[in-house]
Amino acid sequence: MAKYIVKRILLMLFTLFVITTICFMLVRILPRELPQDKNLQAVIEARWDALGYNEPLLVQYGIYLKNIITKWDFGTSWYISVMKPAWDVIIDRLLPTVLVNLYSLLFSIPIGIGFGVLAAIKKNKWQDSVISTLVMLFVSIPSYVYAFLVQYFLYFKLDWFPLNVYSLADAGGSWFTPKMFYSMIPAILALSFGVIAGLTRFTRAELTETLTSEYMLLARTKGLTRAQATTRHALKNAMVPIMPMIISSFIGILGGSLIIEQIFSIPGVGQLYMKAITLRDYDVFMMDSIFYTFVGLLAGIVVDISYGFIDPRIRMGER
């Protein structure tokens, strides 16, 4: 097990390294633009020179790697927050993204699993067909459509919630105030529909499979009631594939949703990514790309490893 984990992590680092290299090369050959401000221009040009931005590409890459390893320095933001380290810029944006997505997950996991269990228990009855049809619809509809529907009904028609997430100053200076949570509700809802539908579908599929298995029959002949057998045996076994999916979603929330952040103007990682592109802030763009890549790779590994922890029957690293 330990060997397998180490192997997977090393492989991940290798993949991350290759992707970073390619991204770096592709980003650094782009022409850089100087800001309008003359004083700033001189300062930035001097900094670029000092940081070796005018050296050959490979030398630049060497400097970049050296800075990351020795100083944990992923470059500097030149336009978004002038002269701030790219790492700090992204860390500042992490909290709103994580919060909105975390709320959304905490909201949708119980509902999703609940509906899934209901549909599986009532398989082929009307409850199941209603849930399955709705799931089919909700899984397919793009998230931005939900965002518009939520905005339209909750803001324009009913005027219960604000259009966008409050800025830090409006909400009392912290991301954890009730006011901030209140303003996040539309975004949380828009994110949740798809997650709930996906989870319902997954739970239903897994649970129907375990419900029809032979140990359920044994459990019933042993004298357990249907409810007992379902919760103690079927649900437990169905959770084996469901748990890793939930765990991977928890990691996935670091990445957040670009489009939802854009629509509800949440100052998160996704919005930072869009800003980095439009303002051509390439160091931040690099940082964000590495971040997204890392989150994706990490989610994959954790899912694979968690299988081994959740269900000891699954031996990791064996073919």
Partner: protein
């Protein structure tokens, strides 16, 4: 005893039943059912999938036919006066739907202004003295219905429904003299009035550029000039008479055109005041009929959506086919040869799969969009990482089948690697990869719309547009013009739902053992 009777039967009593006849197996009366036929039979039973495929067909037909019927018509021309207008259809209008109307609040001033358009339109001769209630009945009256009056902050507010097309009212146009003659000719032919009297530019004209201020005003309010030459405000009522401010010649007849420049008879420029609704009728040969309204630039939204479906579907199908081909070849080589080749190729696929799609798409756009255009660079981005899942599918199938006896038999008989790969093993994976190729289509449509929406890709233009571009155009203004968002969103959602249903149906049909197990 029965067996006793049959003892010692002489040899001569036996004779051959079919001597001299050719013996062969009877042919099956039924037709053989192949893999695809079998799948089709199963697919047909899945009602949801069949229904979804019918809807997909309808959408495709719509995308193909609408532009076809619009050729020659000027519906694909943009009309800046009729930009962002809601759905309107002259036939459906009588039933109260698609009337191009919006509910709005009016102050007394703006209500008179809007009603005034209808009053002026009723006054064809430019004689003046039309009562407001007469103008209410006019077919060019923008106000469809006045619902109620309320009082807000001490002022009367009227809630009314207004036809946004007729609201444009009158505009000034500079046209050539020959054009003027043509319009007059057309007016006589059809009996539809286009040209209306010009307006005097005096102290009572509130805005000399706005052709809708045809009545005497003082700071925008309708006034009447009393005997002593003073302007008196007229309050709003059903029988109020707006005092016209038309330009008149010495004989008191309304003036319809004004010479503004140009030398010869043909190039002489006339300034005229036209009722835009009828001017549009004159220009295009039909009244404005936009069943889905117009988009932010003034194109027919129904036509733009057809265009968008075409582009989005074309991109999706292209990506799906290319992924199919690359994935099949890559996966086949990986799976068939195995060992070191497999390991190396898997690593490459792993690395590519690790790059977030959004980053690939962005980098391709930044680097290539200038050189090869937005669409090819988007296609590259899709193809770059899209084939990996197909390849993994094919590879798995190859691992399952490559050591089976029939493959060994083929190899013993001297079949080449290529023959074994494509003829003997690959068809086993056909079902799964067809399914996954179909399921690629909604994903591509979604990703494309997302990228356009975020502004990373820009596929918009006069010639073409994509569904995502339509949505992103609408994203900042849709609160005032909901139809801009509703129709493209419905189409995208329908496409996604139907392709997903269709793909699921295909999967169940090709692989019945997977039924109900949804990834």
């Amino acid at each position: 005893m029965a067996d006793k009777e049959y003892k010692d039967i002489p040899k001569e009593m036996f004779e051959f039943a079919n001597v001299g006849e050719k013996l062969s197996d009877k042919k099956f009366d039924t037709k053989p059912i192949g893999y695809f036929k079998d799948a089709w039979l199963r697919f047909r039973k899945n009602r949801a999938s069949v229904f979804a495929s019918v809807i997909i067909l309808i959408i495709i037909l719509y995308a193909l036919l609408v532009p076809l019927f619009s050729i020659g018509k000027d519906t694909q021309l943009m009309d800046t006066y009729y930009a962002k207008k809601g759905p309107r259809n002259t036939w459906l209008r009588q039933f109260g739907i698609a009337d191009g109307g919006v509910e709005r609040e009016f102050s007394e001033k703006s209500l008179i202004f809007a009603l005034g358009v209808g009053v002026a339109a009723a006054d064809v001769e430019g004689k003046g003295g039309v009562v407001l209630s007469e103008g209410l009945e006019n077919e060019y009256q923008p106000i469809i219905k006045i619902n109620n009056e309320t009082t807000k902050v001490g002022k009367t507010v009227y809630n009314a429904k207004i036809d946004t097309y007729l609201e444009v009212g009158f505009i000034y146009r500079n046209i050539e003299q020959s054009e003027y003659a043509k319009i007059v000719e057309w007016e006589k032919e059809t009996g539809v009035k286009v040209l209306y009297p010009l307006i005097e530019k005096n102290q009572y004209n509130y805005d000399s550029e706005d052709a809708n201020y045809w009545y005497k005003t003082e700071s925008g309010n309708a006034v009447r000039i009393n005997a002593s030459g003073q302007a008196v405000r007229i309050p709003y009522s059903e029988d109020m008479v707006l005092e016209d401010n038309y330009k008149r010649d010495e004989n008191g007849n309304a003036v319809y055109y004004e010479y503004v420049g140009g030398g010869t008879i043909e190039t002489a420029q006339y300034r005229v005041r036209v009722l835009y609704y009828n001017y549009y009728h004159y220009l295009n040969g039909h009244e404005p009929n936009y069943i889905m309204g117009t988009d932010s630039q003034g194109y027919d939204l129904a036509y733009r959506i057809a265009n968008g479906i075409q582009l989005s579907l074309m991109i999706a199908v292209f990506v799906s086919v290319i992924n199919f081909i690359i994935g099949a070849i890559y996966g086949a080589i990986e799976g068939y040869y195995g060992g070191a080749i497999d390991l190396a190729m898997e690593r490459i696929a792993d690395i590519l799969a690790g790059v977030p799609f959004i980053v690939v798409a962005t980098l391709f756009q930044i680097h290539l969009a200038m050189k090869v255009g937005a669409i090819p660079s988007l296609l590259f981005a899709f193809v770059m990482t899209g084939w990996i899942s197909t390849a993994a599918n094919v590879r798995m199938q190859f691992y399952r089948f490559k050591n089976q006896e029939y493959v060994m038999a083929a190899r013993t008989l001297g079949a080449s690697d290529a023959r074994i790969i494509w003829k003997h093993i690959f068809p086993n994976s056909l079902g799964t990869i067809i399914t996954s190729s179909v399921l690629v289509i909604p994903n591509v449509i979604f990703s494309e719309s997302m990228l356009s929406f975020l502004g990373i890709v820009n596929l918009g233009g006069a010639e073409r547009t994509s569904l995502g571009t339509l949505l992103s155009d609408a994203s900042s203004i849709w609160t005032n013009y909901p139809h801009l968002m509703i129709f493209p969103a419905i189409v995208i959602s329908l496409l996604m739902i139907c392709f997903n249903l269709f793909g699921n149906g295909l999967r169940d049909a090709f692989n019945p053992s997977l039924r109900g197990v949804e990834d």
